[in-house]
């Protein structure tokens, strides 16, 4: 058994360990005590360089790569190169700029300053949802949609205040909240139980047709609660009893919840039943979220 890869004594390991500890302390000092001054770009270069040195020290001495078979180095180096390639590819993949669908950045005052350089967030393109959990109200920043005070809602789709899909591309959701299409799309999630025409299934799922409008008339907030937090327990609709569970749909975006409710209230017989309908806005959903109810609470607060 040849021991060609571990000549020398333990001294080299001790020296390496002390060296690594010192480098780690320097990194700590650079950040915690700002040895190079606050915000000095040299700091970032130094800590990246230090961590590369630590990385190399560990693989060459602790992992014996320095004196070991070159084949092993080749495998590991290939892995590192691929890892770096993946990283570079991902950076390009997710930072494509676009002039369309860009949503105005939240105001800087509401964010910690370190993130201010990253505000060109392509919310629409990325398709991410950002739930504002009620537990964390302190952190909830002003959402892009809230920066527009005047939502132009209308039940009449021919009304000029609702922009048509073709010209809404450039200013999506900023000038107006175009809920028709979104609402119809989101309703696909509801129709498996409540059915495409809102009739529900007798004995299993309550109807939305007419009933949703009646609930709206009694309490405008109730429908928001039911969708956001769900509803469990026995309810009575038009003389029929239903004992089932509606899941909480709070993970949908504010826009989707507002849109789907507007869609329901303006569909089938609901427009004939609803009184003084004022379309929901994403803001309405956001303020309901803050209540942080359970599906049992929704039942108790049912009008």
């Amino acid at each position: 058994m040849s021991h060609n890869n571990h000549k020398g004594g333990a001294a080299i390991y001790v020296i390496t360990a002390v060296f690594l500890a010192i480098l780690t302390y320097i990194e700590f000092g650079l950040i915690q005590y700002k040895w190079l001054g606050d915000g000095n770009p040299a700091t970032i270069l130094t800590i990246v360089a230090l961590s590369i040195v630590k990385f190399i020290a560990v693989i060459s001495i602790f992992m014996h790569l320095k004196d070991d078979n070159k084949t092993l180095f080749g495998f590991f180096a290939a892995g590192l190169v691929f890892a770096f390639a993946i990283f570079v590819a991902m950076s390009f993949l997710f930072t494509v700029n676009s002039t369309k669908n860009r949503i105005a950045a939240p105001t800087t005052d509401n964010l910690s300053s370190h993130e201010s350089s990253n505000h060109n967030i392509l919310v629409e393109e990325a398709g991410f949802r950002f739930p504002a959990g009620p537990k964390n109200q302190a952190y909830v920043i002003e959402r892009p949609f809230e920066s527009t005070k005047d939502y132009s809602f209308s039940l009449d789709s021919s009304n000029s205040s609702v922009s048509s899909p073709s010209n809404s591309q450039d200013s999506v959701a900023l000038e107006s909240f175009d809920w028709q299409e979104l609402g119809q799309k989101t309703f696909n999630s509801c129709s498996s139980c409540h059915q495409a025409t809102g009739t529900g299934i007798p004995g299993a799922f309550p109807p939305l047709n007419k009933n949703a409008a009646l609930k709206y008339n009694s309490d405008r907030e109730y429908l928001l609660k039911a969708v956001t937090f769900g509803l469990t327990g026995e309810i009575d609709v038009d003389g029929n009893s239903y004992n089932s569970a509606m899941p909480a749909w709070g993970y949908l975006s504010d826009e989707e919840i507002a849109a789907v409710l507007n869609y329901v209230l303006s569909s089938w017989d609901n427009p004939n039943t609803v009184v003084n309908f004022e379309a929901y806005s994403p803001n309405d959903v956001n303020s309901i979220r803050a209540l942080n109810l359970s599906s049992d609470d929704t039942l108790k607060q049912r009008p």
Binding site: M1, S2, H3, A10, Y13, V14, A17, L20, A21, T24, E27, F28, L30, I31, Q32, G39, I44, I47, V48, L50, S51, K54, F55, V58, I59, F62, M63, N69, T71, L72, F75, F76, A78, G79, L80, F82, A83, F84, I86, F87, M90, L93, F94, P106, S112, H114, E115, N118, I121, V123, F128, F130, P131, A132, G133, K135, N136, A138, Y139, I141
Partner: protein, 195 residues
């Protein structure tokens, strides 16, 4: 190098060691994509908590130090085994297990603190990318701890000699790899937030 198997060998590298290095190369890509994901999503969370609200640099520096020193003890354990100093090998291996467990303890403390502050896996992009990255690393550390415990127990149930070194060598390579991944995470995830 003893050749126990039949057939042609192009090198004298022991199989477990070769396989471990290939595995580590693939693990590089795994962590490369997780770190890449973290960096791509960095600063894109629209709701908090944000990294600067949560990270505790002195605490993380200590856990980084603990992991580095565990790597030192690891290389010493291998050194002693090669010298056939079994008691010293056991002591060093035990030290690695303890230091690795301390590191895991810090991580459990950190995760529960963050969760208490409102950072859950689903809270924002920071939460999901941070927990997946550091959680995957933590699982690696935990596997390493279990592996070393099994080697330590083995040393008590049958005589361990320098012939066993390849098994310890492979475990040590894994352990050092977990350490270098943390060197990168410490810089790229934690320190960079405070520049």
């Amino acid at each position: 190098m003893s050749m126990t198997s039949h057939g042609y060998r192009s090198s004298n590298i022991k199989d477990p060691k070769l396989l471990m290095w290939i595995f580590l190369a693939s693990d590089c890509m795994f962590f490369g994509s997780l770190i890449g994901t973290y960096l791509v999503y960095r600063g894109r969370s629209l709701v908090g908590p944000y990294p600067q609200d949560l990270f505790d640099i002195p605490l993380t520096t200590i856990s980084t130090f603990v992991l580095l020193m565990s790597s030192f003890l690891m290389v010493m354990a291998l050194y002693y085994l090669r010298k056939n100093k079994i008691q010293s090998f056991r002591l060093a291996t035990f030290g690695v297990i303890i230091f690795g467990s301390i590191f895991l303890g810090f991580q459990v403390f950190e995760f529960s603190h963050f969760a208490h502050e409102g950072l859950t896996l689903q809270q924002n992009l920071f939460g999901s990318s941070f927990y997946v990255l550091t959680g995957t690393h933590g699982i690696h550390v935990a596997i390493g701890v279990l592996w070393l415990i099994s080697l330590l127990i083995t040393s008590y149930i049958r005589p361990m000699t320098s012939k066993d070194e390849v098994y310890l060598d492979v475990a040590a390579l894994y352990w050092h790899f977990v350490d270098i991944v943390w060197i990168v995470i410490f810089t790229v995830v934690y320190l960079i937030e405070f520049i």
